[in-house]
């Protein structure tokens, strides 16, 4: 445990010095502030920001994460020649990256809200949901990045896979779901639809945000399953749990590969 903390400490100083993370935080800061300046009001800012969060955070987390782990090869090899457990190292590496990425997002997106405030109490809930979703997406896509970097020895191929994976989750998946819905329009699709959403972390985070932005519309569902799902804490609970699994599963798989990996 102590060793993990040390690994995290050194990785943090390394990540922060690379300045990428500062740019990342600045990006969110500038965008969020701009949304306040031009969009008018916290409601609009939250909405635009959530669209951005669902696209940008997975992209940056998976790309930055993959690249970082490839570039940290020397650091990893150096530490592996030291009395350091691989498990500790892997945990430390992951935390050392997911932590600053999350913090960068929280600081960048959060500061303008702290400064301008939110217009209504319900917006505060939305903001919290947004920040939580952002952090979870960061954790998920950093974990996926680690899985990729551990699986593929070749950096270019790894980055390619990372981009494809992002493209799949962020764009293609929803297209496929839509095709599927049309193909099976004659069948009751409420439950399969919820399952399909649980299978994609970006969709899951999006649904979590919908529950705060678009309850009015979601409550218009005729399906009893949806009413149950959206009308209660079950929806929020299940979405959050699914996101948790999405963090744990790739991380665990990545760790299993890392344990056996040759350096």
């Amino acid at each position: 445990m102590q060793t993990t903390a040390k690994v995290i400490k050194y990785e943090l100083s390394d990540v922060i010095r690379s300045k990428w993370i500062v740019l990342y935080a600045l990006f969110f800061l500038v965008v969020t502030e701009a949304l306040f300046q031009f969009g008018g009001g916290s409601a609009r800012a939250l909405l635009s920001l959530s669209n951005l969060v669902l696209i940008i955070i997975p992209l940056i987390s998976i790309l930055f994460g993959t690249m970082y782990l490839y570039n940290a090869r020397a650091f990893v090899e150096l530490l592996l020649t030291q009395p350091v457990d691989r498990k500790t190292l892997f945990g430390g590496l992951y935390t050392g990256l997911a932590l600053p990425l999350s913090a960068g997002f929280l600081a960048g997106a959060g500061l303008p809200f702290a400064f301008h405030g939110v217009e209504a109490a319900s917006h505060a809930t939305t903001l919290m949901t947004l920040l939580l979703s952002g952090v979870l997406l960061t954790c998920i896509f950093t974990a996926l990045a680690f899985l990729i970097a551990v699986t593929f020895e070749d950096k270019v191929r790894g980055l390619g896979v990372a981009i494809l994976l992002w493209l799949f989750f962020a764009v293609l998946y929803d297209g496929l779901v839509l095709l599927l819905l049309n193909a099976f329009a004659a069948y009751p699709l409420e439950q399969p639809m919820i399952a399909l959403m649980l299978l994609n972390p970006i969709d899951m985070a999006r649904v979590l945000l919908l529950l705060t932005f678009d309850v009015s519309a979601l409550m218009g569902y005729t399906g009893a399953v949806f009413e149950q799902f959206f009308g209660s804490l079950l929806g929020v609970g299940l979405s959050t749990a699914a996101l948790g699994v999405w963090v744990a599963a790739p991380l665990f798989w990545g760790w299993r590969l890392f344990r056996k990996k040759d350096f």
Partner: protein, 415 residues
């Protein structure tokens, strides 16, 4: 004799109306000589005053068959003991004020009420409380009545086990003002009511509609609040309705509407607030309605307009933070117009700086049509893929109705 007729009429009128009141008052109290309201009505002369002192009165249904004024003092409770209608007014010019009507009891056979006015005129029902009365105030075949400042609290658990709060049937020239209605089946229910005015009422958490009327022409609805009713507000088969300054809030559900307009024609809906409803306004076979200066915010669908609605005009309304601004069931030509509204989803520009966007706004999203056809796809809302589809459709409209467009969207919100 004929030349004295006007004078004698005046004298009679003086006798009836201008008589010193206090001397004629009949006082009902648990301890006094008159212990029941029915007895007091029997004793009171036409046009007399009855004062009901604090206490709980249990007696068979009180029938008010002469023009009297009944006033409650303190907690004057008429208890129906869960088995009967409490008061029936059959005479003209009856005033009931300051009483508490309690516990009528559910009936599946008759429309029992706390207070029923049957075939009477000039009634005044003011500042009473109705607690757990099946129907609250029931006016049948009445005219020139005033129902104001009453508080009605129903406790029915299901639609069938509860009656309406203020129920009007075959009535005209009625004023319904500043009442509060909660927990009834329909808060306010009108059928065949004409030329009436409904203002300043609060109707909330009712089991079905906050306001429900049909065949009720030429009525005005002003400054009422309809909030959190199970199915919102539904009005049907009526002409010349004027609705202004009302708030339609927080009506959620698969069949819940801020305002459902079915077969409503030649009417005006102005300066209303529609906030957080599943559907703000639902218009079906609604014709020649002018929607002006309404504020639609955070609704699932701000406006759902069916293609069988003709020649409606939406102008100078605000559309802010709605999931869908406008949806419709058909892509064929629509004969309703949207002009000079403010749309927060408008992404156009105003190069000539005249306050209007230079390109039209199409409020019907492709996605809303997809959802209309395939409901579960609603879960794809705000996904990147859907946004791209919508953007493409906006550039080259092919499925969305081309005629549903605001040619002159306003750049800044109205009000």
């Amino acid at each position: 004799m004929t030349r004295f007729a006007p004078i004698s009429c005046f004298l009679v009128a003086l006798l009836v109306l201008g008589r010193p009141a206090l001397a004629q008052d009949v006082v009902v109290s648990p301890e006094g000589p008159v212990k029941s309201l029915s007895a007091a009505i029997e004793q009171a002369p036409p046009g007399g005053r009855i004062v009901v002192r604090e206490g709980v009165y249990r007696e068979p249904t009180v029938v008010v068959d002469k023009p009297v004024t009944i006033t409650g003092e303190g907690q004057a409770v008429l208890d129906g003991q869960g088995e009967r209608q409490i008061m029936t007014v059959t005479a003209d010019s009856v005033t009931v004020r300051g009483l508490i009507f309690r516990n009528v009891g559910v009936s599946f056979v008759e429309d029992r009420a706390g207070l029923k006015v049957d075939d009477a005129r000039q009634c005044v029902i003011e500042d009473n409380r109705f607690e757990d009365t099946f129907f609250g105030i029931y006016l049948a075949k009445t005219a020139h009545c005033r129902v104001a400042g009453n508080v009605l609290q129903g406790t029915g658990a299901t639609e069938t086990q509860s009656g309406n709060g203020i129920h009007l049937w075959y009535s005209k020239d009625i004023e319904v003002e500043n009442n509060t209605i909660r927990g009834h089946r329909d808060g306010i229910y009108f059928e065949f009511v004409e030329d009436s005015r409904i203002a300043g009422n609060l109707s909330e958490v009712n089991l079905r509609y906050g306001l429900h009327f049909m065949f009720s022409d030429r009525c005005q609805y002003r400054d009422n609040v309809f909030r959190n009713n199970d199915a919102g507000v539904a009005v049907m088969y009526t002409k010349h309705v004027e609705m202004s300054g009302n708030r339609f809030e927080h009506n959620w559900g698969s069949a819940a509407f801020g305002l459902l307009l079915k077969d409503i024609t030649d009417s005006r809906v102005e300066d209303n607030l529609f906030v957080k409803n599943t559907i703000g306004v639902y218009a079906e076979a609604a014709n020649r309605i002018r929607f002006e200066r309404n504020h639609f915010q955070e609704n699932g669908w701000a406006v759902k307009i069916m293609a069988n609605s003709l020649d409606n005009v939406f102008t100078r309304n605000n559309f802010i933070a709605n999931t869908f601004d406008v949806a419709t069931n058909s892509s064929r030509k629509h004969r309703s117009r949207f002009e000079q509204n403010y749309w927060d989803n408008y992404e156009g520009y105003d190069l000539d700086r005249d306050g209007y966007g230079d390109v039209p706004f199409r409020p019907v999203r492709l996605f809303s049509i997809i959802v209309e056809k395939n409901e579960p796809s609603l879960l794809l809302l705000r996904s990147f893929f859907i946004d791209v589809l919508d953007a493409a459709e906006r550039v080259v409209p092919s499925i969305t109705p081309e005629t549903l467009a605001d040619e002159k969207p306003v750049m800044k919100r109205i009000l």
